[in-house]
């Protein structure tokens, strides 16, 4: 039989769904503990939410799933949400703006066309947005929360990389570039096309300095030292970015988080304005986030600072170890009844559910091997026979006696 699933999409099997829910559950618990509240936004949004400068790049926009709605005769399109943050910011502006501080989290799918086959076109992420605070502590809180989730999922060896959109922009501004050209030039410096750029009339010395700067890696103190050495004494316009990055990095260091500053670690920083952090496991990016102070005013809201973080569920699913799922696999009970004892059988199932046992009613199709216990319901004494995995039998006359046996 031919596969009928849409290209670029995936199904989640029962086993995969269990892992999905585990990740979602750990994430939700962490967010609720940190005082975040859950929101859910619609799958469809207006395309124009994502088209302004500083939201999504044209390259991204050309891969969104947009179409005319049934009443779209004006030619304005709607889109399947291509990003997690922008809809939450829209929700904040629409209905929560009077709250000075909003701590929101979500679990949502996003849609982006993808033709390489390496990624799916529908992706799931769990994210948190911290709106209304501009201090480095806010950025650090989001990083710590993300690390806490990964730790609880027992995913270790995670690398944290820090960059800073404001600092990159200030450095690119030294080349005299408009904000639109900056992103393109940045990508080309990262690709090592300095020669090509100097042919376009950009200052070769500045380009080389910039390239060297982007190559810098390290902890906060050494990073700042090298940065100053390369640029000294001309730090004009860079100080706010440096201070902010040092503030975030210093606090993370004090908290014992392992990190590396690597300005060149980001590619698409369209709506970010401040610190950007990314989480890697091996070469794969499993999450990230950063500060986006300009986004809310850009989308028509008040001038409000904000930062956010997201973990990519599709990536995490491959990293969760089976032992993390152990608690989901508590022994199950199979209740077997005869036609004449079906009523008692169902009552027994209901009773066992009430006290928290995972219990199934035998439909004749279940495999006994999948259960920790089988429990036969008989019309004559003994009323209940409990059998464990080792085929050892226990008899009981009442449900209370059954519960006592199970508790042992």
């Amino acid at each position: 039989m031919k596969t009928q699933r849409c290209k670029g999409t995936r199904d989640l099997s029962p086993d995969e769904m269990a892992v999905f829910r585990l990740i979602e559950g750990v994430f939700r618990d962490a967010c609720l503990n940190w005082g975040y509240k859950e929101v859910r936004t619609p799958t469809m949004e207006y395309l124009h939410l994502f088209t302004s400068v500083g939201t999504l790049t044209p390259g991204m926009l050309e891969r969104v799933y947009s179409f005319l709605d049934w009443d779209g005769w004006s030619g304005e399109r709607v889109v399947l949400r291509p990003d997690g943050t922008i809809p939450v910011v829209r929700l904040y502006i629409d209905s929560l703006e009077k709250e000075k501080l909003a701590k929101l989290f979500y679990v949502a799918n996003t849609f982006i066309f993808e033709s390489t086959g390496e990624k799916t076109r529908e992706r799931w992420q769990c994210g948190a947005e911290l709106i209304g605070v501009s201090s480095p502590s806010a950025d650090v809180e989001l990083v710590m929360m993300a690390l806490e989730v990964l730790q609880r999922l027992r995913i270790d060896g995670v690398k944290l990389k820090l960059s800073h959109a404001g600092l990159i922009r200030a450095l690119l501004a030294r080349l005299g570039l408009s904000s639109e050209e900056q992103a393109k030039v940045f990508d080309r410096i990262l690709d090592g096309n300095i020669k090509e750029l100097s042919e376009l009339g950009l200052d070769r010395t500045e380009l080389e300095t910039l390239s060297a700067l982007l190559g810098l890696k390290g902890k906060s103190a050494t990073f700042v030292k090298s940065l100053k050495a390369l640029l000294a004494p001309d730090l004009a316009g860079l100080q706010p970015g440096i201070d902010d990055l040092v503030g975030v990095a210093g606090l993370l260091e004090a908290l014992g988080a392992d990190y590396q500053i690597d300005l060149a670690s980001v590619r698409d920083f369209e709506y970010y304005t401040g610190a950007i952090f990314q989480l890697f496991k091996g070469k794969g990016k499993i999450g990230g986030g950063g500060r986006y102070d300009a986004l809310i005013p850009l989308m028509g809201g008040k001038d409000t600072p904000a930062s956010g973080a997201a973990l990519y569920i599709d990536r995490l699913m491959g990293l969760v170890k089976p032992e993390s799922l152990a608690e989901l696999k508590a022994p199950k009970i199979l209740v077997r009844a005869k036609p004449e004892t079906a009523k008692e059988g169902f009552s027994l199932v209901a009773r066992l559910h009430k006290v928290g046992y995972r219990t199934e009613f035998n439909l004749g199709a279940q495999k006994v091997a999948g259960f920790g216990w089988t429990l036969d319901v008989q019309s004559k004494a003994p009323k209940f026979i409990l059998t464990d995995r080792a085929k050892k039998k226990f008899e009981a006359q009442t449900i209370s006696e059954v519960l006592k046996l199970l508790a042992k």
Partner: protein, 465 residues
Amino acid sequence: MPKGRLLAETAARLKEAGWGLDGYSASARLYRVKSRNFPRLSAKMFHERDIPVQVAIGNYDLGICGSDWIEELMVKYPSSALVRVGSLGYAQSALYAAFSAADGVSAVEAVQQRSGVVRIASEYPNLAEHFALNLRLRRFGVFPLWGAAEAYPPESADLALLCGTEEGLADCGLAPVTKVLAVSACLVANRNSWEAKDMKEVVASIYDEAAAKGTELETIKPYPGRRPPKSKISPPGADGDTVRLALPDGHQQSPTFELLSKAGIGIDDYPSPTGNRRPATDLPGVAVKVIRPQDMPLQVASGNFDLAITGRDWLREHLYQFPTSPVKELLDLRSGRVKIVAVVSNDMPVADAAGLISLSAGRTAPLRVASEYVNIADKYARDNHLGSYRVVPTWGATEAFLPEDADLLIENTETGRTIARHNLKIIDTLFESTACLIGSRRRVANVVKREKINSIIQALQTGVN
């Protein structure tokens, strides 16, 4: 091979190349052509816009069409199996983004700053969207058009994306702001055919790689290029009590002129031998524009026109796509009567819609339904439970698609003679269509304007009777 604007030059080029084609001319009555000199070559004539799609799908190995239509496909579907072999060097023009000259020459920044919706009219909706996204327009609406884009700015659109020359645009009162793409006739190939089939001889006969150097094919790149200085652009909809009436171009012009005469409405220069799209009438306070009837329902829905004379087929096509559209039929003008029919090849053992269902049930490949009316065709396929089907949009000469490139057509016909001539048969009639006057359900607040609209409806009613 293309019909329309490229036909004459392409035919001359192929004649020179010694293809020995019979029947590739503007007066051709059949669309299939054989080559006398390349016995393994057979060709079909299509509307130019259909050619890149047909080649990409793999129905054809090679195609000749304007590079504008290639980029219109590739900008939206970059992974299409299409190889741009190269420019054939003739029919050179360019695709421009243009404003009304009345708006000032360079209004890009003014449009970029606009907080309202920027209206872009174009026969190239994919390129128009690409242009708008790369210009970082905050909000925009693209009006896909069948033609006459030059007539839209400034009243009915803020800018148009259209093919032509700078002089040609100036003649239409337009100022080109940006060249989006250099356009010329171009040879394209299907990627699989290009790799697997030996087409060297045929390709070499018309395409000289060495000579093509310097006329290299331009492909669509992200705009922006240069940034023009600021100037003002007039806000849309500032037209007070003027009634905006759309009249059809093409073969509906004569019956429309006749109707206007009977209704006592005088009109100058319509049909216009010089292609004037803004004829004057003796109705005070009424602005007339001549556009494609296919485009009218969308334009009335968007509020760009108050009244329009179009066909019921196009009204239905619009309402099937946008069921809550405010457009409605105001008056049956009883002219231009056609039937909208379902058509299959004579060789197909199907006599009616029921036969189609059993046919589609027995197939593994989806049923291909070709039509200029994509929404009518889609509804017909859904209503008849045709199972797995695909609607292939076409831009004219749809009869050419059967039987190789489609299984079913949804077409209009006056007498049925064209259908019979192409060895096709009608298996179902969907509805009858005549010319009609359409308007908006929305209440017109301006009393003067409302009365003017009513008096035009009255006059046309008299003309019909």
